[in-house]
């Protein structure tokens, strides 16, 4: 198991922690790339998902499309777009945004759908306008699932953003490719471990955020009559989050 010691040696080598190719720089690049990708994907997927969830229309199409999106191999998309737009971060941004959209979209619209229709109905009946229903009822109640979708998208993007290094001097993926090419497994595994650590940290952040934003009333309390609706949808919520997690990180 010499590769383990090699990996450790690479990780603690001070030379790898400084300069333009150093771990802090690449880590920051990776993180930034991930965040931008998620932001773009969210800007596309969240409003779309909410629209679908709110109106109940176009759902079949969205479901079919995000299924197909999920099947698109990131490696293929990356190489194809790269041939069109050239080197740099453009192609990875496109490919990874496509990767991130399905889980976020699923999170957004299932989040809306999982809300008990009666609650929305009651909100309308007491005189909330459509905008108020979206902002004050559907958004807070759909948030846990939406965040679940974002969370799984983040996991995938972090792992798959290593691909950006295929055509750009960028991110933690550089260690993977370089290590692979020069058969330096310590570097390659070290890079992988950094990616995993980053993913775990982001997971933690999300877990925290999820805890903060989940409306208290949705989790608190005893399972009495009324809660049936919401308590029943709990397991559903949990698992739709997971279904968002179609770990398609093709490299």
């Amino acid at each position: 198991m010499s590769f383990l010691t090699e990996t450790l040696a690479w990780l603690v080598d001070p030379a790898n922690w400084v300069g333009a190719g150093g771990i802090p720089t690449r880590l920051a690049q990776h993180l930034l790339f991930t965040l931008v990708t998620l932001l773009v994907a969210a800007l596309i997927a969240v409003p779309t998902g909410f629209l679908i969830g709110h109106t109940g229309r176009g759902r079949g199409l969205a479901v079919a499309l995000s299924g197909a999106f999920r099947a698109i191999p990131t490696l293929g998309l990356l190489t194809l777009v790269a041939l069109w737009v050239g080197i740099g971060l453009n192609a990875p941004y496109v490919a990874l945004t496509v990767l991130a959209i399905p889980p976020i979209l699923a999170g957004a619209y299932t989040g809306f759908e999982a809300i008990d229709r009666k609650i929305i109905d009651a909100a309308r009946a007491v005189g909330m306008s459509e905008a108020q229903i979206v902002l004050k009822v559907e958004l807070p109640l759909g948030l846990p699932l939406l965040i679940g979708g974002l969370r799984s998208a983040t996991l995938q993007v972090v792992a798959t953003a290593t691909l950006a290094a295929y055509i750009a001097n960028f991110g933690l993926g550089r260690y993977l490719f370089e290590g692979l090419r020069i058969r330096d497994y310590g570097e390659m595994l070290g890079g992988s471990i950094l990616v995993i650590l980053l993913a775990i940290v982001l997971e933690g952040v999300f877990a925290l955020v999820q805890k903060l934003v989940v409306p208290r009333g949705v989790t608190a309390g005893l399972p009495i009559d009324i809660r049936d609706g919401s308590s029943r949808s709990r397991p559903v919520m949990e698992s739709t989050i997971e279904e968002g997690n179609s770990h398609v990180h093709s490299e």
Partner: protein, 281 residues
């Protein structure tokens, strides 16, 4: 090495079937296909195991005797086998490679065709700064960004060597993991990079009006095409492969590659056409 996990206990298929391998590289596959068809015409049965990745993936299999014939490039293979190799002329490299190979492997005759690394620029760039050979890059007054596979950055002929050996100032390095393929060429043409490592047999050099700077000092190892073979290759098979190598000239290889890239023909069609024309089958 016993510690190398990539190695696997040898268990050759046995029998009279010859296993021909190729890199996951289109040009290499064409050569492998030529070998295969030539061997088949000579009465051998061939098992094609093409597109099996980069050298780090297939080399252990060759060393383990699981592949009988593999098209290789003298300089690159030498460097892979022996990090301290000195290289030199084409013949010197070939001779050094023969000694560097493990006992039960050998190389047959090398072809005239070579597909070696080169420092390449666009024709416009070349004429603007009057570039002919690598050393003349010192003429360039604008920042030079270099593009190529990851490993290039640390290779003895890489950006560092350019700086140390010739005093050329390099502004940056951009990895493009397509081994000097279309993306690298596009980056060069688009001006995203100014200097690229592109294989000399790449038809893109011609198509895109690029200039491969000459290398009078032997910065790069020569990379003549050569079949690496196992013990299973007897004299008659070796004779067939040597005949192929004899016919395989530098221009031929560029032409074959062009058929693949520009005409989008498949490797077997290209191979059959060439072998027929060269009267080898």
């Amino acid at each position: 090495a016993s510690g190398d996990p990539l190695a696997e206990p040898s268990s050759s298929a046995g029998g009279s079937t010859i296993v021909v391998g190729s890199q996951a590289y289109y040009s290499n596959e064409i050569i492998a296909e030529i070998y295969s068809q030539a061997l088949e015409a000579g009465g051998f049965t061939v098992d094609r195991q093409f597109q099996i990745g980069q050298r780090e993936v297939y080399l252990p299999d060759i060393e383990a005797g699981k592949i009988d014939v593999f098209p290789e490039y003298t300089g690159s293979l030498l460097q892979a086998l022996d990090k301290a190799a000195v290289g030199g002329t084409s013949d010197a490299t070939y001779a050094e490679l023969q000694t560097a190979l493990p006992d039960d492997l050998r190389v047959l005759d090398q072809a005239d065709a070579s597909d070696q690394n080169s420092w390449t620029v666009t024709a416009d760039f070349a004429s603007k700064y009057d570039l002919t050979d690598i050393a003349s890059l010192t003429n360039v007054t604008e920042p030079i960004t270099v593009g190529g596979n990851s490993e290039l950055e640390t290779r003895p002929y890489g950006p560092t060597a350019l700086k140390d050996k010739y005093g050329i100032s390099i502004a940056g390095f951009v990895p493009v993991e397509d081994s000097g393929g279309p993306l690298t060429v596009k980056a060069l043409v688009d001006g995203d990079i100014q200097l690229a490592n592109i294989y000399t047999a790449d038809p893109n050099i011609k198509t895109n009006n690029l200039v491969a700077l000459s290398d009078p000092d032997g910065l790069f190892f020569p990379d003549n095409v050569v079949p690496v073979v196992s013990q299973k290759i007897d004299d008659s098979a070796a004779a067939i492969l040597n005949k192929v190598s004899a016919a395989l000239t530098a221009d031929t290889l560029v032409d074959l590659n062009a058929q693949s890239k520009n005409d989008q023909l498949s490797a077997d069609k290209i191979a059959t056409a060439w072998l027929t024309k060269a009267k080898l089958i």
